[in-house]
């Protein structure tokens, strides 16, 4: 840390905030505020300052060790802050690196400043509970289990799973797709789509080169399976006497009205895969932009598969030209999974009407 005439840690955060509003002191106050806030491991100060403080591109990650505690002990012990060196704990370093990759993806590809587009801090807790076969975003932070070691590895191990979880936060800030029925399956699908795109871009893979698997590497060698899900071939990711068989359908003939949202998500997942393969090139570029704009500008909490089809087709036409290869590819993709998009009647929902509580359009 550079040393300055201290506008220092002895000042409480609200005074530092006030000082930071004065251009003469702003830079110094900001630096001290960040340091203080990082030491405290709390977000409250950043929340107050969000509008003026967070420069786009300034990711902020804090990693905690929940030390096998449950939700009441979250976030746990601070073990790695933004800019700190890697630790000896793989889970900590993966949580750090992969949340950074996800931040970079959204910032560099779509100009989105963190999950909420306001520079929200990306906190993660690892070693949640014991043998916990799961990871989740709880609205404020990422939480990762260690896996049971018998069937599942630690849940920080797959970049696309990290991207999947963080994308739930993006969805919660934008379309707010309800987590049941078709809207819930769409919610799940957008998390798989963008989780996969984060991975594809990190690896520099075009649509043709990508494996289109979600969570490849999550299973131990004891499991007969390659991944949690396959977007290219839903239903084929695993078939194991202990875990069961991948239940995902690839099209509407397999839609399960009682199905878990992670099951029916196979259908919109496959639609994205097909659209990306038809359009070609890097899937995060054109298909990714169509899907991103649809999620952040058009979809509603109760949107159905039909709505997603209609809207992605409409956005494709607006973005890349009506009747173009992109729009036709998106249309055909949905048709192949059993949904017929209505091009002519796709309704453009003004952002202000869709998100009356938003201060500005999410973009």
């Amino acid at each position: 840390m550079k040393s300055h005439t201290p506008v220092c840690c002895i000042l409480p955060p609200h005074i530092l905030v006030k000082l930071s509003e004065n251009p003469a002191y702003r830079d110094r106050a900001m630096r001290n505020l960040m340091l203080t806030e990082q030491l405290r491991g709390r977000r409250t100060v950043l929340g107050v300052m969000s509008a003026l403080a967070i420069a786009a591109g300034q990711e902020r990650r804090t990693i905690y060790d929940d030390q096998h505690g449950g939700s009441t002990s979250l976030p746990g012990q601070l073990v790695r802050g933004e800019g700190d060196n890697p630790t000896a704990d793989d889970a900590v370093n993966e949580a750090y690196d992969y949340s950074g990759d996800t931040y970079d993806f959204y910032q560099q590809v779509f100009g989105r400043n963190s999950i909420d587009n306001r520079g929200m801090r990306l906190d993660s807790s690892v070693h949640y509970e014991t043998d916990y076969d799961n990871a989740f975003w709880n609205g404020q932070q990422m939480v990762y289990g260690d896996g049971d070691g018998q069937f599942f590895q630690r849940f920080t191990i797959c970049l696309d799973v990290v991207g999947h979880e963080l994308t739930h936060g993006v969805t919660a800030s934008t379309a707010q797709l309800e987590y049941q029925g078709e809207s819930g399956a769409l919610n799940e699908s957008f998390s798989d789509v963008f989780g996969s795109l984060v991975k594809q871009r990190k690896l520099g893979q075009s649509a043709n080169e990508a494996d289109w698997l979600i969570g490849a590497g999550m299973f131990t060698p004891n499991v007969n399976g390659t991944a949690l899900r396959s977007m290219a071939a839903p239903g084929t990711a695993y078939d194991d006497p202990n875990i069961g068989k991948d239940p995902q359908p690839a099209d509407m003939s397999g839609f399960d009205p009682q199905g878990d949202v992670h099951t029916n998500s196979g259908i919109p997942n496959h639609a994205f895969y097909l659209a990306a393969m038809k359009i070609g090139g890097n899937a995060w570029e054109k298909p990714g932009l169509i899907w991103y704009r649809t999620l952040t500008e058009r979809l509603q909490p109760t949107s159905s598969f039909q709505d997603a089809a209609d809207l992605t087709v409409a956005v494709a036409g607006e973005q890349f030209g009506a009747g173009g290869l992109e729009q036709k590819s998106v249309q055909q993709a949905w048709q192949e999974v059993g949904i017929s998009p209505s091009i002519a009647t796709a309704v453009r929902i003004p952002v202000a009407a869709a998100y009356p509580q938003a201060e500005q359009p999410a973009a």
Binding site: D133, N134, H164, Y179, M218, G244, P247, H262
Partner: protein
């Protein structure tokens, strides 16, 4: 019987125990937990839980009654949480 669905992996599991397989201490524990959590009066929530959390569908059958409660992992009150943990660990092989 407990069915666990949800989670980022989306894998469904079932575990069950019957009181016949429990020793008297374990039986007492289970009964106490059921009583403490007021299980037979609990209503299922029709709201979906938070994304990628596990969802537990818990069915308890006695000689006189049967009751099912569906609850997100995020909303498990303490008594029910301990009961779920007990049952989830009881079986040595998952049965699907």
């Amino acid at each position: 019987m407990i069915e666990r669905t949800g989670g980022v992996a989306g894998i469904a599991l079932r575990r069950s125990i019957s009181s016949g397989s429990l020793n008297p201490d374990e039986q007492l524990t289970v009964n106490t937990l059921l009583e403490r959590s007021n299980f037979f009066e609990l209503a299922s929530s029709d709201q979906p839980g938070p994304p990628d959390r596990f969802v537990y569908t818990i069915t308890v059958e006695t000689a006189t009654q049967s009751h099912t409660v569906k609850v997100s992992e995020a909303d498990l009150a303490n008594g029910l949480r301990v009961l779920v943990e007990l049952v989830m660990r009881a079986a040595t092989r998952p049965s699907l």
